[in-house]
């Protein structure tokens, strides 16, 4: 992932980091949604997709006030709005905007086409009632979130069979940026969801603390030990690798690599590996969760937050699992409120992210004072905690806090308006998820990884992830979340 980022053309000096840009763009969407809540419908033009058999009915604007746009018009306006705002963002990041715009147009077109395809009734519908509504005797029951997986597969095909095309797209392949914007927007959605059941939400937060302990103190130490002792990796490789597998993938590998003063290539190669394994997890684990954990939805949610690495893949896997489990439960007559599984996975992931800076500082302190002690060498500084803190989390906290305050101060008349307004922001959260899935796919060149000789790194990753991380994550999620159910509709 980082390899693609590093190899992008830098047209000018960046004025913003990706994290701060995500905060700005996420807050912009949130502010427009709040405008809708206050009476000015500022986001109703955004395109939404319904489950369809008749293509002409697939697309529509989010709000009826913009019905005159039609589905195609809403799609065009959404694209123009996104390409405009993201182009300004690309300039702020120091990218070549002339390359960004055509690349983003293709990325958006292919991603959204995947999403529309995923909403085709034969793929998406789940309940017998919906099958009857569309006149279907059979469907794949993927829910419309199956579109995420189609976007991922489309990206994988491009990465592995059309590498030149993937290279041409790289200016707009920014999964970290897209998911960070989505997470900032998600803060408001989680707030409105949580406001209805504040006691349950705060209980989940307490249990979410277990994830931090598990990821940093248990996973990291075991994976580091396995990599060093049984696979013979040097400290420079083992530390970023352990962080990538244990904490939150790419960001953790890069932060830790920087903290122990590893060469940049180390973090880059570990990050590539993290993305490839995250792809495999996203393709498999939501369906495993639906099959075996549908009666313990929040165990499934916490498990995905702990098991799937990289923020994008984990939160997106939470979204797919939310749709799959809610649909399966609905087919059995249990109507869970949607959003709680996604909210729990995202909360677990954000909790883990918050401590990256602290962990990087601890490792930097140990390395500079005890491992690589150089006379007059640079020592770890407390300011590294802030430097390595993932700033987009500030955006998440802001939208969560404002959203929660608004929801708790809303009366019976205004609360539905707030929910609808945040729902409009959520349309963009979904679009950024789709872009994330497609982008992750485009970055996952399995052949190149093999050619780079990363088989041994992949072996540690495989052994640690499937032999330890997934199972311990399941056990701890079970201990803390078993019996905790999302609220029922109504």
């Amino acid at each position: 992932m980082t390899e693609a980022i590093l190899s992008r053309t830098t047209a000018s000096k960046p004025t913003l980091t990706e994290d701060w840009l995500a905060v700005v763009l996420g807050l912009l969407v949130f502010a427009l949604a709040v405008g809708s809540f206050l009476g000015a419908d500022l986001l109703g033009w955004a395109v939404t997709t319904s489950v369809w058999t008749d293509f002409s009915k697939a697309l529509a604007p989010a709000a009826k006030a913009y019905a005159w746009l039609g589905g195609a018009g809403a799609l065009a306006v959404t694209f123009v709005a996104l390409v405009t705002v993201l182009s300004v963002g690309a300039v702020a990041l120091g990218s070549d905007v002339r390359k960004f715009i055509p690349a983003f147009a293709v990325v958006f077109a292919l991603s959204y086409a995947s999403w529309i395809l995923g909403s085709y009734a034969s793929l998406a519908v789940v309940t017998p009632a919906d099958q009857a509504k569309f006149g279907l005797g059979w469907s794949l029951k993927l829910t419309n979130e199956g579109g995420f997986l189609i976007a991922l597969v489309a990206g994988l095909i491009i990465a592995n069979f059309f590498p030149r095309f993937a290279d041409w797209l790289k200016e707009a392949i920014r999964p970290e940026l897209y998911i960070k914007i989505a997470i900032v927007i998600l803060g408001a959605f989680i707030a409105v969801t949580a406001a209805g059941k504040l006691t349950l939400a705060s209980s989940l937060l307490l249990r979410g603390l277990a994830a931090i302990i598990e990821a940093y103190l248990i996973y990291w130490s075991v994976v580091y030990f396995v990599a060093r002792k049984y696979f013979g990796f040097s400290r420079e490789w083992a530390a970023p690798l352990a962080s990538g597998i244990s904490i939150c993938g790419v960001a953790a590998a890069i932060s830790t690599g920087g903290a122990i003063r590893a060469r940049p290539q180390v973090a880059v190669l570990v990050s590539s590996l993290v993305v490839v394994f995250a792809v495999i997890e996203v393709l498999v684990l939501p369906f495993v969760a639906q099959t075996f954990l549908s009666h313990e939805p929040l165990v499934a949610a916490a498990w995905l937050g702990l098991a799937v690495k990289t923020d994008g893949a984990a939160v997106a896997a939470g979204g797919i699992t939310d749709a799959l489990i809610v649909a399966k439960a609905a087919a059995e007559g249990i109507n869970y409120q949607p959003g709680w599984i996604l909210a729990t996975t995202a909360t677990v992931k954000v909790f883990i992210d918050v401590f990256i800076g602290v962990w990087a500082f601890i490792l930097a302190y140990v390395w500079t004072n005890h491992v690589n002690v150089a006379a007059g060498g640079e020592k770890a500084k407390l300011s590294e905690i802030w430097q390595r803190f993932p700033k987009f989390i500030l955006g998440f906290i802001a939208t969560f806090a404002i959203g929660l305050t608004l929801a708790l101060h809303s009366d019976a008349q205004s609360l539905p308006k707030l929910t609808a307004a945040i729902g409009q922001a959520n349309v963009f959260r979904v679009i950024f998820f789709i872009l994330t899935f497609f982008s992750i796919g485009v970055l996952s060149n399995f052949r190149k990884l093999w050619e780079d000789g990363l088989g041994k790194l992949a072996a540690v990753y495989f052994v640690s992830l499937f032999g330890f991380v997934i199972w311990v994550g399941l056990l701890i999620s079970w201990l803390f979340f078993a019996g905790v159910k999302p609220p029922l509709v109504g």
């Binding site: 006691t199 349950l200 209980s203 989940l204 307490l206 249990r207 603390l209 277990a210 302990i213 598990e214 940093y216 103190l217 248990i218 990291w220 130490s221 075991v222 580091y224 030990f225 060093r228 002792k229 013979g232 990796f233 040097s234 400290r235 490789w237 060469r263 290539q265 190669l269 140990v366 005890h370 491992v371 050619e451 780079d452 000789g453 990363l454 041994k456 790194l457 701890i476 201990l479 803390f480 019996g483 905790v484």
Partner: protein, 49 residues
Amino acid sequence: MSQEELKAEINNAVEPLLPIEKKLIGWSLGTGLVLLAVLLLLSHYFPVS
């Protein structure tokens, strides 16, 4: 770093575990298990309502 250098480096690294690394691993694991036990107790005394 060339592809060959990379392969050689990944496959031939020999660095024995230093005492400080063992300490880091041991303390992390020990602290983690104790904190998890504390959290488990807390979640037992403050069940989800």
